[in-house]
Amino acid sequence: MVGYVGRRMLQSLGVLLGVSVIVFGLLHLTGDPTRLLLPLEAREEDVRQLRALLGLDDPLWVQYVRFLGRAVRGDFGLSFKHQVPALALIFQTLPATLQLTVAGLGLALVVAVPAGILSALKRNSLLDAVCSVGVLLGQAMPVYWLGLLLIMVFAVGLGWFPAAGRDGWTSIVLPATALGAFSMARIARMARSGMLEVLAQDYVRTARAAGIRTFVVTYKYALKNAAIPLVTIIGLEFGILLGGAVITETIFAWPGVGRLAVDAIFSRDYPLVQAIVAVLATLFVVINLVIDLVYTYLDPRIVYVRSAR
């Protein structure tokens, strides 16, 4: 196991290095940021001076090596736009994004897993139909539309929750709902199909024939096996939500990394974009590793060993 984790971590380093090259290259393809940092009417000499101050007049490979050298020490440099360490800005906004992601995914799980299981158990019933419609709606509704709808109904209409911002626990309800809706639909669908597949297995029939209570068969034997694809999906969803909360964060003025990233991209803030991508990619890689390890708990047949030659 330790060997496996070590190997995976080495692989992850390769992934992160690849990501850094791609992001660095793409960013520099988008053009010179100095023009956006200075007023439109700025003179060429001011532009040249700033370019030199930011180290942008060095050859690209020199810039990359300098970036990498600092990055391995956890120094992503100063944000061009904000002139504070890029990592500090991320750590200032990451808690808000994590909070929103955990709340959104938590809400999705609390609703979607029981709904998926129930609709598998009561296949073709009214409940199943209602769940299917819910899944369809959840996947079809664009998050910005749902977000505005939630604001109109629950903030302006009923006045239950704030329309925007991050003030106390009430302010997270609407953004978490908007963010979680899509995942909710996907997880419910996965839970339903996973359960249906497992329920049709021989060992479930055998267990039932042996007179074990339905509850135990369902939740102890079937669910644990149906959970493997579910865990994969949940892990992926967590990663997607982390990086994909941009729209939700914008609509609800939620001060997270997503908004920071969009601002950074629009203002060609190279150090900040690179730092955000590095942090999110690391989180994604770690989540994937954790999921792989969870598999061994769910299915002891999965053992990570060095493959024999």
Binding site: L37, L40, Q83, V156, P162, A163, A164, F252
Partner: protein
């Protein structure tokens, strides 16, 4: 189950109410589209950021509500010679950390921006200043490289920094914990969440009516309007005209509007040559567009036509210059005379930069096409790409352009946009260049005004733009606030009452 839901709803409502009561009666929240970029005011030229910083820092001079220049930390100023301005600074003023404000602070503040290793986008604002001389603690002299009649306007942007504080904490901390002499003191800055300031009762103008102000960035328009309607925000900016009916349904709020210093027009790429190098073609484009009709239809009347490239609220504007009136016949005659009866053009426009920008560009293109000039519209949604096309002089034939600089100095409208070789300029004309140079160096105000009048008349005739309109700034305001907007896009907390 229904009982549980009801109980939950009651708890939530009580919580929200408690939250509302927790805020004081004289505390306000202002929602804008973006967060401040810096609270080190010398690091920004962004108008929203300057507005927020304007409550923490004071400038040497300032603009009153009519946009006339009036004293602030400077009590008076005079010309000693063509290149030397003498300024008397207010005595007994202290920075929020207790440090005294004096002539040395003025020198420090200007020299900080001019420091080569200091990445301030304000360098251009003070590039004419050769050196700053401290005569005594109450008197400072600015020596300029050339005669510079714009110095008073520059002094309205000269934010005063605390020398000892900046030296002690460094540039990064100055940005995170700003110290100024302004009417409000910094309390906290949660990036992209809120900036809070509280009244500085020791300010030399007296105690502000607002006790505590929170600036909130709410980028999404729908959420910003909802925040105003629910009382979460007291003042919101950039309400587009088509949203006014939505605001009218809420009794506790009202709409305030004012014509802005921002003018929006269609910049014609004369320097590209071809048909657009012919003045008659450019004039024909102006006659072929019913700008008033477009303003009425698209902006619901929320815009005022302009007669040349300067807004009416900037000194130097001449109201006697005639507008281009809609005259398709005259347009056709001009095009025929120029031998350009089969013209195809493309207009580029951003999407969401100015109120209904894309729609206005489409309306203008529609009218040009209707009047025989086949015109396409190319939308460039990403602002960085849009700016680049302008700075690289690679715009389409015509580019939608908006302009407002906080200096409100007339030269800052004409020179950057029309002088040969300027980064933004898509126009070149030695005669116009000469007029601009004359006007920017003329130290006699009356003569200077005449020069601008003549220059703007020439520009009107030369038609380097399809002249557009002065934008209307529209705000949503909670009725508990006594406040009317200013024409320089600024929101001053000291002008807000209850």
């Amino acid at each position: 189950m229904p009982r549980m839901i009801r109980s939950l709803a009651v708890v939530l409502v009580l919580f929200a109410a408690a939250h509302a009561w927790a805020a004081g009666e004289r505390d306000i929240t202002i929602a804008q589209g973006i967060d401040a970029e810096f609270l080190d005011v010398q690091m920004t030229n962004n108008i929203v950021t300057l507005i927020i910083n304007g409550s923490i820092y004071d400038t040497l001079l300032t603009r009153d509500k009519s946009l006339a220049i009036v004293p602030r930390l400077a009590t008076s100023y005079k010309l000693v010679s063509d290149r030397v301005w003498e300024v008397k600074v207010r005595q007994g003023v202290k920075f929020h950390n207790g440090e005294p404000f004096d002539a040395e602070a003025v020198k420090f503040s200007v020299e900080r921006i001019q420091r080569p290793d200091f990445k301030s986008p304000q360098k251009g604002w003070f590039s004419t200043i050769e050196r700053v001389e401290v005569v005594d603690p109450a008197t400072v002299r600015f020596h300029t490289k050339v005669p510079d009649p714009a110095m008073p306007a520059r002094m309205t942007l000269m934010y005063q920094m605390a020398p000892k504080y900046v030296a002690q904490v460094g540039d990064v901390q100055t940005n995170l914990k700003p110290v100024g002499t302004g009417p409000f003191k910094f309390v906290e800055w949660q990036k992209n969440e809120r900036i809070v300031v509280e009244a500085n009762d020791a300010h030399w103008t007296g105690k502000p009516a607002v006790r505590r102000a929170t600036w909130r960035p709410i980028p999404e328009l729908g959420a910003r309007i909802a925040a105003l309607q629910t009382g979460q925000a007291d003042l919101i900016v950039n309400v587009p005209p088509d949203q006014l009916p939505a605001l009218a349904t809420t009794k506790s709020v009202r709409v305030e509007k004012t014509p802005s210093c921002r003018i929006i027009s269609f910049q014609i790429a004369q320097i590209k040559g071809g048909p657009l190098a012919d003045k008659r073609v450019r004039q024909a484009l102006n006659y072929a567009v019913d700008m008033q009709g477009i303003l009425d239809a698209v902006l619901l009347g929320n815009g005022k036509r302009i007669n040349s490239w300067m807004p009416p609220n900037v000194w130097g504007h001449d109201p006697s210059i005639p507008f281009y009136e809609y005259d398709p016949k005259k347009a056709k005659e001009l095009l025929t005379a120029a031998g350009q009866t089969n013209l195809t053009l493309t207009i580029q426009a951003p999407n969401g930069r100015w109120a209904m920008d894309k729609d206005i560009a489409q309306a203008v293109a529609g009218q040009l096409t209707e009047n025989g000039i086949k015109t396409n519209v190319k939308i460039i949604g990403e602002w960085g790409a849009y700016v680049r096309s302008i700075l690289d002089h690679k715009t389409e034939d015509i580019a939608m352009a908006g302009w407002c600089l906080p200096s409100l100095e007339p030269d800052h409208w004409v020179t950057p946009n029309l002088k040969t070789g300027e980064p933004v300029s898509q126009y070149s004309n030695p005669e116009v260049d000469k007029l601009m140079d004359q006007a920017r160096a003329e130290m006699n105000p009356d003569k200077r005004k005449q020069l601008y009048s003549h220059l703007l008349r020439v520009i009107r005739d030369e038609a380097p733009y399809i002249f557009g309109y002065q934008q209307m700034d529209i705000y949503g305001v909670n009725n508990r606030l006594k406040w009317t907007p200013r024409g320089d896009e600024s929101i001053r907390l000291t002008e807000i009452g209850f």
